[in-house]
Amino acid sequence: MRSGICMAALLLAPVTCVAQSPAAARAAFQDVCGACHSVETVTSQRRTRAQWQDSINSMVARGAKGTDEQFALILDYLTRQYGPASPNDSGASPAAPAPAGRGRGAAYSPGPEDRQVIDEAAAIRGRKVYAAECITCHGTRARGTERGSDLVRSEIVLHDRYGSTIGPFLRQGHPAQTPVAQLTQAQLVDLSHTIHQEVYNTLRAALQIQNVLTGDPKAGAAYFNGEGKCSTCHSPTGDLVHIASRMDPPGLQQAFLFPGGRGGGRGGGRGVSAHPVTVTVTPASGTAITGTLVHIDDFNVALRDGAGEYHSFKRTPDLKVVKNDPAQTHHELLDKYTDKNIHDMVAYLETLK
């Protein structure tokens, strides 16, 4: 379906698609970013071009390796695919567990294929028109006030393409006939970009975590050293030294709740080296073998031992299998934390700059 994807990408970014193949951009993304991030971790975010540039800069500062050409490709790729009004607007699926690497192409996102593509410059110009003519009644975010309707939810807006229905309505149907009826065609198109941008801003993942730093650091330290028993395995001067300079607060929160997970936040899950799950397998007649768990299901188990050798076993009643998940204590804490414990812990960890 490469041709289909490229065709859809053409609609969105005519220049870049001609100049470069999406496959090359995706390959650059995989090569440079894939070493540390799962694709889903990165692409569950929605950011503007400037925001993606910031992210890339910060990753370069953290040691991301790539050529200038690769970073340019990645910026284009992320902006095109995962911008606020990008084709892949939907993050997790609503009625199904989010399958990893679903890899839907550009044509396969919510909404119509021919939806308006925002011209940022036009949207900025349109904002001036909006501020002069619309904002008093329809509100700063076009979500309506007591005086005017919600434009984000307006079917006239949702059916509009570049002023095609907004224009005629303002010329003929709008209750305040003048001065909106006197807007020029160019102003109408600009305004349509502004209003559509507000619609896209309501889409999932156009927004981010606000502030998780609401707890009491002292109470967090007490929990760390007391009830939570975190100090049994962790130390602010050992494995957690400078943890807060490596991860932002949302990343810290996700990292201690779900170690090894792919939660949100900058550097999520990577601040502390993840210890792999190990397994000890004892055959009825043989000696125990311990190693890193490669695979386990009801019928088979596989591990890689300290020498790097791969071992695979059929599970039988005689085969003893003992799994050791170093994060088991973290999993068990999920039933014990209060939300206050969690927020206090984030506040405490944030002091470990």
């Binding site: 939907s90 009625a95 839907r104 939810r153 889409l203 999932r204 975590i209 998780v212 939300d339």
Partner: protein, 524 residues
């Protein structure tokens, strides 16, 4: 029994055309799987027993059909449809695609490709069949009718407005001369509805809105104002079930909108996140039961409402039960909607018990918060769309379940958030099959998967329960205790609900994993 009479009268003519005898929808013979759930009850139990506990280890691979090159995924897409099987032909879908495959051999008979105009291509649950015609929904809001014999398009009709970010994914339900279709989509704040269409022309027969359309209408008292209510969501993602005697369809409804940030929609938000009984001839509501009043966790109630003719306290009862996404198992009287029991089938951390009507009471502290609230289950839910099964031989209801945690955040703290306005992140989960005794609501046994897994289920009179784990295994479990009896690794996890049928004396088991259908049979 007007419906039955109509069906029987028309069946002779339809049979002559090689189509589906509508009477078989009421009491499906064992040589067909004529509708999404196999029959109207949603129990996904087959009376076939040629494949059974004593011979399961002789089960052989009969054929494999790979639906190559289909869109919806980089590696060929995912079959989440339950195939229907009529007169020896399997019909199944992926977004924009329908296939007809020989149910004995896996050879393709025809395929149909729809030219899409956008829409969410997350999955398609399957096709409905009426007489000689097939019906399916497209991501770009069309219902398409095809000729069963050659896959040629007969007509297509719009069922929703793509500009409002609706899309089609559910498998249409055929009841009498009604083709019943639902709508999907929760990106913008639009009202959910369910419709009935004429099978010959596609013309609209009725539409029922999940959210009331004007203040004063029943349910409007659970909304702050008309604007919030009319944009209040409640999508109809899943195929309803049907009781021909009561002439009621049981419609599971989706979550309210905005999804996570519920500040501007105080109240219970009826009739979202509910099971609703409608008259299929008129679309009039008979009763409702709300699973998640004022949901703010994306816990729709679009899990199959399964009909059980059972016994409660020694009394014969017509029941409808649901293992809902929020972690509760509900048992209702399906004539009246009256709650009989509500119980947690996995441990949850968001509820303060149940109210007088049996609906759980949300702990406000576990609503999404600016700095996060740790909630279980997560957004994926304690269960989700993959179909459960009820086995009348054991009296147990089986569901693919998860105990999962995530943190729910408010991203938009304004007074009028729209769309989602928040989300959940991160998580830890463990997956299992829960076997629930509907008489007590208690989990009788639980079989945990080592490596995830959330598949549709099938039970049979062969004393077998079929499920998929997270490692690509198709597994037959003992329905009495959950012990695995047989398995085959398909290389990819089961992505739909397995089905079974008997043709020429051979019982087949058909299941999808990724973009491929696998058929197993007792060949000797």
């Amino acid at each position: 029994m007007k419906v039955l009479a109509t069906l029987l009268l028309s069946s002779a003519a339809i049979l002559a055309q090689g189509g589906l005898n509508p009477a078989s929808l009421l009491a499906p013979p064992t040589d067909t799987w004529p509708t999404y759930n196999g029959d109207y009850s949603g129990r996904r139990y087959s009376t076939l027993a040629k494949i059974n506990q004593s011979n399961i280890n002789s089960l052989s691979l009969a054929w494999v059909y790979r639906a190559n090159g289909a869109p919806g995924g980089g590696s060929g897409g995912r079959i989440s449809a339950t195939p229907v099987e009529v007169n020896g032909i399997l019909y199944f879908t992926m977004p924009d695609h329908v296939w007809a495959v020989d149910a004995r051999t896996g050879r393709e008979v025809w395929n149909f490709q729809w030219t899409p105009h956008g829409g969410e291509h997350i999955g398609n649950r399957g096709a409905g069949v009426y007489g000689s015609w097939l019906y399916f929904l497209t991501p770009d809001c069309n219902m398409v009718s095809l000729n069963l014999k050659d896959g040629k398009e007969r007509w297509h009709k719009s069922i929703c407005d793509l500009d409002q970010y609706y899309f089609g994914s559910m498998a249409p339900l055929v009841v009498g001369n009604h083709i019943i279709t639902g709508v999907s989509g929760d990106d913008l704040d639009r009202p959910g509805y369910i419709e009935s269409h004429d099978p010959e022309t596609g013309a609209l027969q009725w539409r029922w809105y999940v959210v009331p359309q004007k203040m004063g209408d029943p349910g409007s008292e659970t909304w702050p104002n008309e604007e919030a209510m009319k944009h209040g969501g409640g999508m109809t993602w899943l195929t309803p079930t049907y009781d021909p005697e009561l002439n009621m369809i049981y419609v599971p409804t989706g979550n309210p909108q905005p999804v996570i940030a519920g500040k501007a929609r105080p109240g219970a938000n009826l009739f979202t996140a509910s099971v609703v009984a409608l008259n299929p001839d008129t679309g009039k509501m008979q009763w409702y039961f709300q699973s998640s009043p004022h949901d703010t966790h994306d816990w729709d109630a679009t899990q199959t409402p399964v009909l059980i003719d059972g016994e409660i306290n020694g009394q014969k009862r017509k029941l409808v039960v649901q293992a809902s996404r929020n972690g509760y198992f509900f048992v209702l009287d399906r004539a009246t909607g009256k709650n009989i029991s509500s119980s947690e089938y996995v441990k949850v951390n968001w509820s303060k018990g149940v109210d007088a009507k049996g609906s759980p009471i949300l702990n406000p502290a576990k609503e999404p918060q600016l700095d996060g609230a740790l909630v279980s289950p997560n957004q994926g839910g304690a269960s989700n769309w993959p179909p459960p099964t009820y086995d009348p031989d054991t009296g147990l209801f089986y569901v693919s379940a998860a105990r999962a945690f995530s943190v729910y955040y408010i991203y938009d703290p304004s007074d009028k958030p729209e769309g989602w306005g928040g989300n959940d992140r991160g998580g830890w989960s463990e997956s299992m099959i829960q076997a629930i005794d509907y008489k007590t609501g208690k989990v009788k046994w639980s079989h945990k998967w080592e490596d995830g897994g959330r598949s549709g289920l099938l039970s049979t009179a062969g004393k077998l329960l079929f499920a998929g784990d997270g490692s690509g295994n198709l597994i037959a479990l003992d329905p009495a205790n959950g012990n695995p009896l047989w398995h085959a690794n398909l290389g990819s996890s089961v992505t739909n609900g397995p089905i079974t049928y008997e043709l020429d004396g051979t019982q087949y088991l058909v299941v999808a994993a990724g973009d491929t259908l696998f058929a197993f049979a007792m060949l000797r």
